[in-house]
Structure formats: C-alpha cells, structure tokens
Symmetry: C2
Subunit: 505 residues, 2 copies
C-alpha cells in the first residue's frame, strides 16, 4: 500500500518528504487512508527585542511531547531558523532547548539540507538574468533584490558595477525574499513556476516586465528540486517534527510552508504550527494571509507564550499580552495563555494565576519547559484537549481581496494592533509610493487590491510607540512594495527599523 514512506527519502539524519507528490496522491486517491488533523497556533507575546525569544519553539516541542504522552497523535511544523543569523551569533537557534529539544538541533540551526541556500541561489540567479535583460535592452531598472543568507549591515545598500554603471542595489536576507514567499505559498512546482513567471523583474519605459518574459523557468525550478521538500525530524521523546519555510514574520510572511502543514494534517490528529515572533506578526500572517487568502486551515486553538518577565517587568508594555490573547479569543479561537518559566521563577505561579484570573483569561498553562519539557504541561492540558476534541472544524474566513491597501492596513491596525482607523497615518511620500505601486501593478495586468497585505514592521513593536497611552497610539504607513509573483503587497509600518539585513552584534 502506498503511504507517506513512499514519498520520503533519507538525507543524513533527517527525512525529506515530497509533499507535493504526497498531497497529489491524496487528491487523486480519495480512499487513501488519511487523517484530518486540526491546526493549533503557537504564537507569543510581542518580544521586548528581536533577539529575545519567549520560548515558542521550546513550547511547541514540549506541547507535542505532552500530547503524545497523553495518547494524542500530535506533530509540530516549524519554520527553519536563519542559518546566517545563528552562525553570526546574533540569535540562538530556533530548535527548543533543555528537555524540550529536537534530537539534532544542530541540523536545523546550521542550514538543514541547504533549502535556504537553494532559494538564495535561485533568487540571485533571477537578478543575474534581469541584469542580462538590462544588457540586452529588455529592462531599464531591476526591482528584485539580491539575497544573502549571511547578515552584513553594509549590504543594505550597495552599488554594483562599481566604476562603470555604479548601479544602486540592495541585498536582503534570504528568508525575506519573494522566492521564499512563493515556496511557502505554492502547492506544486507548476505553481512555483507560474508565480516566478509573474514576478516583476523591473521596468522598461516605466512599465513592469515580468520574469516570464525572458527567463527559462525550468532553470529556477531545477535549483529548487530539493528545497521544496519539507524535512522530518523528531523531538528527543520521539514526537514528529516537520521543518519547512523561512523565518521573519515581521518583514515577510515567516510562516511554515502551506504544504508542510497540509501534509502534517493528513498524517496526525493535531498539528502545532509555530507562528512568531508575536501574535501581531506570525499569527496575524497565518490568519490574515495563509488562511484568509491562500486556503490554509483556520486554527482550532491557539497558545500564546510569554515569559513572566516580559509580561510583568515593563508596565508600559503589559497591555500587549492580554491584547493578543483577547484578540484571538474574539476570533472564536480558544486561546490558552502559556507562561514559560525560567530558573528561579517557580514561586511566581500563584501571582501569575491571579493576574490571569483578573484578566478573565482561560486558566494559564505554566511551566519551566526547558527544565521539565512536556512533563511540565501534560497535566494542565485538559481544557486545551477538550477544545480541540469538541470544537467544530472552523469555517473558511472571508477574503480581503478587492479591499484597497489602505483599508486593509487600517483593518489590520485595528484588529491586530488595537489602533483605530483614524489614527493610521500616511507618512509624506506614502501616497506617491502607493500610486507608483498601483501603476506598476496595472502595467503588468495585476489589480493591487487583489494582493494580500504583508505588514512590514519591527518584531518588537506594534505601533509607532507602544508605550504611549492607548488613545494616543498611532500606526504610520511608510511605503509600498509589490511582490506580484507571491501575490503580496508589502506595506512598511511604524517608525521602527526593520531587519531586512541586520548588523552582526
């Protein structure tokens, strides 16, 4: 009998799965055995800074270990961390820790099977082909950036062909590029090729020119052959973990690939999807992009992770955690607060429970997951499991297709950041940037209102000043960027720095 094993190959210590092939097989074989797993989001409080994790991956790992210990077939789907950022030492890896660990975290942290590198090569090859198109008179300007997996602040702005053309360019981190988004959102290699063909390479005579007009698409898809296959690994307790897609839900979509989640749902009863940084980044992207516009499954429950110190120590920012929990509950997603204790914080449990009760939260799940792993959680999951077992399969959410980009941002600002429409501010130059983007879309036959919105912002802030009183908080719109192949429109928000190419610190 055909099974997932037929679609799995070993790559050293991980399996690589032909998810496109497996999902095709399920589609063409209605009687094939399959599960209909429910999606749970593990997201978090907005972090105090980008490099300070609340413990989402640790929680995700502890959670599937705890669920499996209770006899529930649960798996996790993680994005791959940025190897460059990890290698540079700017951030720890993203593969859990302590008793809530993967068997081989080093594989996940250090480049896995070269998926990110292949996407980088393919995106850079597109830029090289665009450059050739400039030489041949098919393009005047290039709009796609080169990428680097390795951070380097001096690559933010570069000039190529120094001493001759001195052409300004920018380099962005690989996970944030349009080709990564295409890999995350596509359900077949044909769809990837179609989307690459629709990517806007640059302009000629002021009109957009797409890659489909001059690139052999098979060259790009050939590079991606292995990169489109999710990796399978496991926790130290044997719970299955799939890893696929890139990070950075603040400056890109930063969610696991849709096919990795769909494949996991066909194989397991509960599928934990990690969606970070905070609820305002990863969860917002999962709900409003993946579910709303790309047919991903609406979560049947959510867990919002915080550290006691994040919640407690900065009164100015303490509004953010309950805001996130309530926002998800208001979407009819049963939402469980989870407080990930650090060493020496066990005595704070009573205070934390008290605060949660005051806030009318569901009873929070609390534990030191690094120290105790899934065992810290298993006994606390009754309500969570009940919500999963007895909740109905969620309906598909409404699409925002056709909504203008400004209306769309206002909606997100209100729903996800708590800032009403009248305090969404257009920065000088925003309208011009928007008009230019509309014209660019028009020139390639795309209606900008049909593109899904990617809010680009700092991972550590939701508004222009999260410390301002509630009724003074604003969101400023800075500029618009089109990713027509991925079907996305990026809008840079707030006054904070984003990290398309960080400095090594």
């Amino acid at each position: 009998m055909t099974s997932i094993e037929n679609f799995t190959s070993q790559y050293g210590l991980v399996g690589k799965i032909d998810a496109f092939g497996y999902l095709d097989y399920l589609k063409n074989t209605p009687d094939a055995p399959r599960k209909h797993g429910k999606v749970v989001l593990v997201t978090a409080d907005t972090p105090l800074k980008a490099s300070r994790g609340e413990g989402k991956t640790t929680t995700t790992i502890a959670l599937i270990d705890a669920l499996n210990a209770r006899g529930i077939d649960a798996a996790a789907v993680l994005r791959q961390p940025s190897m460059g950022i990890t290698a540079a030492g700017s951030k720890g890896g993203a593969s859990g820790g302590g008793k809530a660990s993967l068997t081989h975290p080093e594989l996940i942290d250090w480049g896995l099977c070269g998926e990110m590198a292949a996407i980088a090569a393919a995106q850079n090859l597109l830029v090289s082909f665009a450059e050739k198109a400039v030489d041949e008179g098919k393009l005047d300007t290039i709009l796609v950036p080169r990428v680097s997996e390795v951070p380097s602040r001096s690559l933010r702005q570069i000039a190529v062909d120094r001493g001759k053309g001195d052409v300004p360019e920018r380099v962005v981190l690989t996970p944030t590029c349009e080709l990564m988004q295409i890999v995350v959102l596509s359900r077949s290699m044909d769809e990837i090729a179609e989307r690459v063909a629709r990517m806007i390479a640059g302009t000629k005579g002021g009109k957009g020119v797409t890659f489909g007009e001059f690139v052999d698409l098979w060259r790009i898809t050939s590079i991606l052959t292995d990169a489109v296959k999710p990796a399978k690994t496991e926790t130290v307790n044997g719970s299955p973990v799939y890893v696929h897609g890139g990070p950075f839900a603040n400056v890109s979509i930063g969610i696991p690939t849709l096919v990795s989640v769909e494949m996991a749902c066909a194989l397991h009863d509960v599928v934990i999807v990690e969606a970070g940084y905070g609820t305002d980044a990863g969860a917002q992207k999962w709900l409003d992009i993946a579910c709303r516009e790309y047919g991903a499954q609406w979560p049947s429950a959510a867990i919002v992770v915080t550290r006691a110190s994040t919640w407690r120590d900065d009164p100015d920012l303490a509004w953010r955690y309950p805001f996130h929990v309530n926002r998800l509950e208001n979407l009819d997603i049963p939402t469980f607060p989870l407080i990930n204790l650090w060493e020496g914080e066990d005595d704070q449990v009573p205070t934390l429970l008290e605060t949660a009760e005051k806030l009318e939260f569901r009873k929070p799940v609390i534990g030191n997951l690094f120290r105790d792993g899934g065992a810290a959680l298993a006994d606390q999951l009754d309500q969570f499991i009940d919500a999963l077992k007895n909740g109905s399969m969620p309906a598909a959410p409404h699409s925002h297709r056709g909504m203008s980009v400004i209306e769309n941002v206002k909606w997100v600002a209100e729903q996800a950041y708590g800032v009403p429409a009248e305090r969404v501010v257009l920065k000088d130059g925003f309208a011009a940037s928007r008009d230019e983007a509309v014209a660019l879309c028009d020139s390639v036959g795309v209606n900008m209102a049909d593109l899904a919105l990617v809010a680009v912002k700092s991972p550590a802030t939701m508004t222009d000043d999260d410390r301002a009183p509630q009724d003074e908080r604003t969101v400023t719109l800075k500029k618009v960027e089109i990713h027509a192949g991925a079907g996305l429109v990026h809008v840079n928000l707030t006054t904070s720095l984003t990290t398309p190419m960080p400095k090594i610190v």
Copy 2:
C-alpha cells in the same frame, strides 16, 4: 567489522561519506582491509574557449566503465561543477553524457547536497565578521572577497555601505575562494579550523590581521559539517564515482579534495582523477600543488583528451596538444592520448592515428564516448592497463618550498607552458604587488616562499599569445595575491581575462 559503510549516510540519491573519519580509522587501524589504488589523471588539451569541453568527464566515466568491464576495480573522483554557471546556461553541466553518464547527472549539476552553498555561506560569514572587526577598530581594510555561486558580471566590482562608507569590494565565484581551497587541501576539520585561523582577514595599521585573532572558528566549521563529506554516486553501468571539491583550475586549484582521492585509493585499485581544464591548468595544479606540496599521490598514468577538431582545425594552436602529452611523458608518467570523436568523425581515425605516430605518441585511444560509452574503449586499453599494473609506485616529487615566487613562475612557465625563463615578463606594477605581498606575509609571520604557487590565467591560453611563433611566446606576470590560510600564493599571468565572476552569456 567496520567498513566504509559505517562512514556513509544516504542523502537522497547519493551517499555522503565521512572521509575524515574513514581515513582516521585507517590510520589508527593498520590491519584494516584497504587497497592501495593508483591515481590516473584524466586531463585535456587546452580548450579553444572556456565553455567548450573536450569531454574529460565523459572520458572519465567511459574509462571506469571500460576498466570495470575488464575486471579492474576502478573508480572516478570528480569535482563538482559550478551550479551557478550551469543554471545560468553559460556552460553545460560536467557529468558526462550519452552512454558515458552518471545515473543522476542532475544532482551533480544542480548543487548536489549544498556543499558549495555551505562554503559560500562560511566565506561570506568571514567577510561579515571582518566587517564587524572594522566597526570595532580591529581592522582598517578587508582583504577577503565575498562570494556568489551565481555569476553576475556587475558583482566583479561593487561598493558596499553605499551612501555612507562606499567601501570598494569585489565578489568572486564560490569555487575560487580561499575557503574552498582550504576544504580541498585539508585532511581534518581541525586542519580546516587552523587554516581558517591563518587566513588574512585584512590589515590594521598596514599589518596583516588573521581571522584567528577575532573569529570563533567553530562557527565556520559548523557550517561546513556536511560540506566536507564527499558524495558517492555511480555511472549508468554501476561504476563508483565520488564527487567533491570545486572547479576552475585556471583561477584557483580546481582539483577534487585530497581526502576524496585518498579515500577512493583505499577502496579501489585504480582511481581516475579528473584534472581540467587543460593539462596546463588542472594537471599542472594536481602535480605541482597537490602532489609536490600537499602529499597527494603522483599519477601512475595520464590520459590527455582532445577532440579531433581541437587538435586539427586551428594550425596555430596545434602545438599545444603534443606539448601536453610530451610534458607528462617527460615526467615519467605514461601518457595516453585519447581522441573523443563526435558524430560523423569516425572516418578520421586513420588520419588521427597517422598524426599520432608522426608525433611519436603512444598509440592513441579513439572513440565516440558519448555514443558508445566504455564499450568504445575497453579493447584499446591493454597498454594503459599494463602501465598501471607494471609501473612502480611513484616516488614523492620535490617540493618547491623556499623558491621565490618569480623563480617558481619561471619554472612553471617553462615546464607547463613551454616558455623559457628569459621570456617571462614582469608587467609594470608587478614588482610592487609582489613586494606588498611579501610585506603582508612577513607581518603575519609567513615566508611567502613557503606558499605553493597558483598560476591564475585564462583556461584557453597558456601564454600571452599562444598563436605567436614558439620563440616569441611570452608569459607576463601581473599581480600577486596571498591565500595564507590555504598556503597558496596566486600570481595572475598573461594578458587574458580570467573568470572570477563571469557574465551570463
């Protein structure tokens, strides 16, 4: 019993071998079963242009198939082609063709298991750390280039930190970088770390500063964990093929990794090492760098491939092929001409044999290897096999350690290009470049005369003008570059363009 299988993991359709571990095991286990295979170089006539292959890989594959068909345990060791160059369409892959093919040439051509990408990430991370060292006042200038696996002519000269520092930089193709050379020449991860520590990052107050002074070496070696493992695949006829190391013996060393060849020699009786482009590039590098300075095995035989048209159609350049064959014979390497016929050339065999006889060659091996594979060769290999069986194991060649760089170039020009010392010309500025390099070496405690010479030149020429009459040919020395970590000194020769970063054509 321990065997090579204990050191091999499956990575999709190829095996990856922990060659460091296996060679360590052999060293520590003198009684372990092992072979003492002989090395055969497959090299070629100087190509008419870089993108025009004579058929070295096709020959290598046909040859091991023919030897195995005759009951001889033969394997091949290939370098990995540049995925970027292949993907860009500037050159076909380098994995044979027709009946002389690998089972999965697409794997070799399209990035294998990400080895090259990992080396690129590690080299680029070194540059990022150097940049951080500049920010911290530890460095004034950076001397190591960033790399790209994808060709792009506009990356030859770039400026980073545009609008602020506007720092000039250059980007080179990944296979040509010092870290690739270190991977090719090292026999353990410790040796790689030591060599990275000795790489000159840049200068401070005019003196060299090495990476060992400010980089955590484990970050670099962690990235390289899988990249240091040779891949194992096979021909369509089941003959074993190992693939490891990068191309471009004209601008770098361009030979397979030393450990891949040593491992293959422990496993097989005959090991065919592909060494291209021409004899003046790949074979010169194998003999004069790998064997002379790094303890690689001197070849027991050589095959010099040409196409009938290369040999025949350009009388001005026809001197090159017999020059190569005779040069190797004069080194006491039994050298067999091999003419790789293309469709419609079968009737030229009598003329080719006649020419070879006039030139006092050994009887050439002639066949259409694409069409007929190893079957075209099997019957013609008696002399070749005899040379391998009855030749003595070659002695170690003399090192050039201590020879000045100019003496070394003069020696290579005479031996490998046929240009006597008096016609080796120093271009204006060369002496200054050399003096600067000597001072840089001195400042980090390296004697430049202890570095092995890498002649950097066009793949398609040996001298300033290969069409000039023999007694007018010159070799011009242009500049010197130090790769202290790899233990190499590069000297750019001739007036021809090299390809550190080609244009897509």
